[in-house]
Amino acid sequence: MQVRVRVPTPLRRFTGGQDEVAAEGESVRSVIEDLERRHPGLKERLLDDKGELRRFVNIYLNGDDIRFLDQLNSQVKDGDDISIVPAIAGGN
C-alpha cells in the first residue's frame, strides 16, 4: 500500500526538507519502518526504545488520531494520508 506522509518542520532534516513524502506498508508501524529505510533517523524520533509511539508524537491516519484507532497496528490503504504532528506548538 502506498501512502502519503506529511512531515512536520522538526523532522524535515531527515527528508531533505520535504514536507510530504511517500511510503509503503500495511500498517502504520510498517509505514514507519519503510520511512526509516528511505529517511534514516525518522523512526527513533517517532518510537521509543520499546517500539511504542513516543508520548509527545501524534500520528493521524486520514485525520483520525491512531491512539483512538488500533494504535501502530492501524491498517492503511492505498492513497491514505498520514500526518505526523508534534504534540506541542512551541519550540520548533
Partner: protein, 348 residues
C-alpha cells in the same frame, strides 16, 4: 495571595519567612510578580550534599497563571510610553500559549483588543482561557510549529500595519527587562543573596537573560544554565531547541555559562514526581527545569540552585503530557531519578 519577606539576611534555610498579606490592589496587573519560592526537598531527598539546596520560583502564582505575565505587562507598558500602542490599535502577537493568556489579560484590563496567532495544536484549555479574557485566537498550521505562527502573524500585520501593536516577545528587550526589574531582584532577595546557580528554560530567552543579567550584576560568580529540549522533535511546550529554531533577538547566548539538554520523557516523569512527591502540579517546562536543576545540584559540594517553574499544570491535563503516566506510577521512583542523572547532558 501573600508575599514573603525575609526577616534576616541569613541563608534561605535559616531564614524564617514572614508571610505578609498583599496590599489591596486597584488592578490585577499590580498583583503580577512577588511569587513565592519553594525549596524542593522531597524530589531531591538523599541526592544532594548537605550544603546544597534547590529552590523553585512558582510562577503559576501570577494572576494570569504564568511567568509570562511579567513580560506581557512590561512590553505593553513600554509600548504605551513610546506611543506605539494607543487607543484604536489592536495588540497582536504569535504565542504558544502563556504569553497569549498574559497579553489577553493585560488587554482586558487596559481595554485594548487582543488577537493571538498560535498553532492549532496548543492545548484546549489555553484556547479557552484566551477566549475567556475576550481575545481572538487565530490558528496556524500545527505542522509548522511556533515558527509557522510567527510567519502568519507577520503576514497579518503586513496587510494592515497601522492597525496593530505587536509586542514581539522574541525581539522586544522589554521582555528580558521585566525579569531584570522583577524576577532577578526577587530571586536575590528570597535567597538573601546566596544564589550560586540560576537554571531556566529557554523559550524566548527572556527569563534567563533578564534575571541572569540582574544576578550577574549583584554577583558575577552566579552561574547561568539554560535548559533546552534535547531534540528539535520534542514535547516541551514553551521551550525552544535553539539550534533548529529562529533564534530570538533578545537571546544572547554569550551571557550563559552552560546549556543543558533534557529529554521530553525525563521532563514528563519529573512532572509526575513533582505532583505525587512534592505536591506541586506543574507544566512540562517546569519538569525540564527541575531535571536540569537537579543535575546541576548533584555536581555541587555546596550551593544554592534556583530554577523557575513557569506555570502550574492545570492547563495541560488534556495534553500528551499525561499519556502513559499510569505506567510511571508502577515504576520505582528512585530508579527513574537515577535515569534523570544519567541521561541529561551538558554542553558549554
Amino acid at each position: 495571595m501573600a508575599t514573603i519577606s525575609q526577616s534576616s539576611p541569613r541563608s534561605p534555610a535559616e531564614t524564617k519567612p514572614e508571610v505578609v498579606p498583599v496590599q489591596r490592589a486597584p488592578s490585577v496587573l499590580e498583583l503580577i510578580g512577588n511569587t513565592p519560592m519553594l525549596e524542593v526537598r522531597k524530589v531531591t531527598a538523599g541526592m544532594l550534599r548537605p550544603g546544597v539546596r534547590v529552590f523553585a520560583k512558582l510562577e503559576g502564582f501570577n494572576p494570569g497563571g504564568s511567568v509570562k505575565d511579567r513580560p506581557a505587562r512590561k512590553m505593553v507598558e513600554v509600548g504605551l510610553e513610546r506611543g506605539e500602542l494607543r487607543p484604536g490599535k489592536v495588540i497582536i502577537d504569535s504565542t504558544s500559549g502563556n504569553t497569549g493568556i498574559a497579553l489577553a489579560m493585560v488587554g482586558a484590563v487596559l481595554g485594548y483588543p487582543v488577537e493571538l496567532v498560535m498553532a492549532s495544536n496548543v492545548s484546549r484549555e489555553r484556547k479557552k482561557i484566551i477566549e475567556a479574557f475576550g481575545a481572538k485566537p487565530i490558528f496556524s498550521d500545527p505542522m509548522e510549529g511556533s515558527d509557522g505562527a510567527i510567519r502568519v502573524c507577520r503576514r497579518i500585520i503586513e496587510e494592515n500595519p497601522e492597525r496593530y501593536f505587536k509586542p514581539d516577545q522574541y525581539n522586544n528587550e522589554a521582555n528580558s527587562l521585566a525579569h531584570l526589574e522583577t524576577t532577578g531582584p526577587e530571586v536575590w532577595r528570597q535567597t538573601s543573596g546566596r544564589i550560586t546557580h540560576f537554571v531556566a528554560g529557554i523559550g524566548t530567552g527572556g527569563t534567563i537573560m533578564g534575571t541572569g543579567r540582574y544576578l550577574k550584576l549583584r554577583n558575577p560568580g552566579v552561574k547561568l544554565i539554560a535548559v533546552e529540549p534535547d531534540d528539535p522533535m520534542h514535547g516541551l511546550e514553551g521551550l525552544k531547541h535553539m539550534a533548529s529554531s529562529i533564534v530570538p533577538g533578545i537571546y544572547h547566548e554569550e551571557l550563559l555559562d552552560a546549556k543543558m539538554q533534557v529529554s521530553t520523557e525525563d521532563a514528563y516523569e519529573m512532572v509526575y514526581a513533582l505532583g505525587q512527591v512534592e505536591g506541586v502540579l506543574v507544566g512540562q517546562s517546569a519538569g525540564a527545569a527541575m531535571v536540569a536543576a537537579l543535575r546541576v545540584a548533584r555536581t555541587l559540594k555546596e550551593g544554592c540552585v534556583v530554577t523557575v517553574f513557569p506555570d502550574f499544570g492545570d492547563k495541560y491535563l488534556s495534553t500528551n503530557l499525561w499519556i502513559g503516566w499510569q505506567q510511571w506510577r508502577r515504576e520505582r521512583l528512585q530508579k527513574i531519578v537515577g535515569k534523570w542523572n544519567a541521561s541529561t547532558s551538558v554542553t558549554t
